[in-house]
């Protein structure tokens, strides 16, 4: 292999005039996280509702929930990204569509990117929530109703609090996925970490320095998220379940 490494490029100024290339990439990580976090909040809220609805005895709501899940699970993420960016503003009332399209640069791609990632991930969250609720013994809900709770109260005070604590570990990996998936937003012009590594490669012609730095930043981010989530998992573990005893790893 003939490749002349030139790591000092990271300390050179990037053409946009915002600082060094390294700073440029770290700001990219900031955009990755801001996009992923905003999408994550919406995904959790929507996913929790859809997942819960699919376990109720309300047939029409269940069907609607299933339809939602199948639609957003069977269209590739990048195509959904294009739908949110190119198609949705055209289908909305003209005033709103124009407002979205005329937002200043990062926001006009940020908003569609967040919506896309949120809805895409909400489907997976919904599946986890549903699985979590189904994994509870039937007796829990029955006991709640026998104690005089309404169906809604049984969900609120008995079923959901347990389900959410059970599904936390799988939700961690969904959060990692949303961070990784946010890189697809570069196709609609959002300069997040991967997008900025690509831009740096185009400005400086330092292909592997750019991608290697981005790779290292992603790995460190992963590590931090895993450690944080592990601490959180320990806190919310349900005492008495098998998972609760498997501590120390």
């Amino acid at each position: 292999m003939q490749y002349n490494w030139h790591w000092k490029v990271l300390l050179e100024a990037e053409p946009g005039g915002t600082g060094t290339y390294l700073q440029y990439l770290i700001v990219g990580l900031g955009w990755t996280l801001v996009t992923a976090l905003a999408a994550w909040v919406i995904a959790l809220a929507v996913g929790a509702v859809i997942g819960t609805v699919r376990t109720t005895p309300l047939k029409w709501l269940v069907r609607l929930g299933n339809l939602y899940v199948e639609v957003f699970r069977n269209i590739p993420l990048i195509v959904q990204m294009f739908l949110w960016f190119f198609v949705v503003p055209e289908l909305l009332p003209q005033a709103i569509g124009d407002w979205i399209k005329q937002m200043p640069p990062p926001w006009s791609s940020y908003l569609p990117a967040v919506m896309c990632l949120a809805i895409f991930t909400s489907v997976r969250v919904a599946e986890q929530v549903r699985a979590g609720i189904m994994s509870l013994p039937r007796g829990q809900r029955m006991a709640a109703v026998a104690n005089g709770m309404t169906e809604a109260q049984a969900y609120r005070y008995v079923v959901l609090p347990q389900a959410f604590r059970i599904i936390l570990p799988p939700l961690t990996s969904e959060f990692m996925n949303i961070i990784k998936n946010s890189s697809v937003a570069l196709t609609i012009g959002l300069l997040e970490l991967t997008g900025r590594a690509r831009a740096m490669q185009e400005f400086s012609f330092r292909v592997f320095e750019a991608f290697a730095t981005a790779t290292v930043i992603y790995l460190i981010t992963n590590l931090i998220v895993v450690l944080l989530m592990r601490a959180l998992e320990k806190k919310v573990r349900v005492p008495g379940l098998i998972a609760a005893q498997a501590g120390g790893h």
Binding site: M1, Q2, E70, N74, I75, F86, T187, T194, F208, A214
Partner: protein, 230 residues
């Protein structure tokens, strides 16, 4: 709602979309699936190996691939493969290989990490006694794996492997970032040329949905068929 839209553009570009684009997408999916399952199985065997170095190497590779975004990996291979190929074939200068082979190598290597985890679970689900009886019959490691463990692991894991393949089929649309003409790439070219973004992208979404959803229904039916009744 649909005034001012021109849905004829879809009909006009159908041959291009399917004969160029969809053929690219399906070929890439099929070849990457075969390659991915092959290397994934090898990686799974390595991860389960009792030789520390081997299992650490495979584990490191799988974890690395699984913690990076696919888009970044596509860029890596797009630029890296010409250098590697140049080093092997010529005087070390990079040789261009085109988007298809670049994408094929990327998806094979990337999906191998995911298939590996599936095959590892499959192999681990086989009862230990199966391996012992293989050795007791005088078979060596490769024979035990090839004739006893892997066939059962495959059968158990067929539905999961196919579900992963549906994900692979959807993921191939990301070759858009290296300007390959897959189904989405072809549609994007027509969309930008005729300025028919709404029509083309809606059509692309519908086609992807129909294919992925039908495949997932097929997998569900297959799942009932291949289930081993114990």
């Amino acid at each position: 709602m649909f005034t001012g839209y021109d849905f004829d553009v879809i009909q006009r570009s159908l041959p291009y979309l399917f004969k160029e684009g969809m053929v690219f997408t399906l070929t890439l999916t099929a070849l990457a699936m075969v390659g991915g399952i092959f290397f994934g199985t090898l990686l799974a065997m390595m991860r389960l190996s009792s030789i520390r170095v081997v299992s650490a190497l495979a584990g490191g590779y799988v974890n690395l691939m699984r913690s990076l975004p696919l888009v970044l990996v596509i860029f890596w291979f797009f630029f890296l493969v010409p250098y590697l190929y140049g080093a092997v074939r010529g005087d070390g200068r990079p040789i261009a290989i085109g988007p298809f082979y670049s994408a094929l190598i990327t998806f094979t290597m990337f999906e191998a990490a995911y298939y590996c985890e599936i095959m590892r679970a499959g192999i681990q689900s086989i009862a230990r006694g199966q391996v012992w009886s293989g050795y007791a019959l005088g078979l060596n490691y490769w024979q035990t794996m090839g004739f006893i463990v892997l066939p059962q692991a495959f059968r158990n894991m067929i539905p999961v492997l196919l579900t992963q393949t549906i994900i692979l089929f959807q993921d191939t649309s990301l070759v858009y970032v290296i300007s390959a003409t897959d189904f989405l790439g072809a549609a994007a070219k027509v969309a930008n040329r005729d300025y028919r973004l709404v029509e083309m992208y809606t059509f692309v979404a519908v086609i992807y949905f129909v294919i992925s959803y039908s495949l997932s229904l097929l997998v569900k039916r297959l799942q009932d068929k291949v289930a081993i009744i114990r």
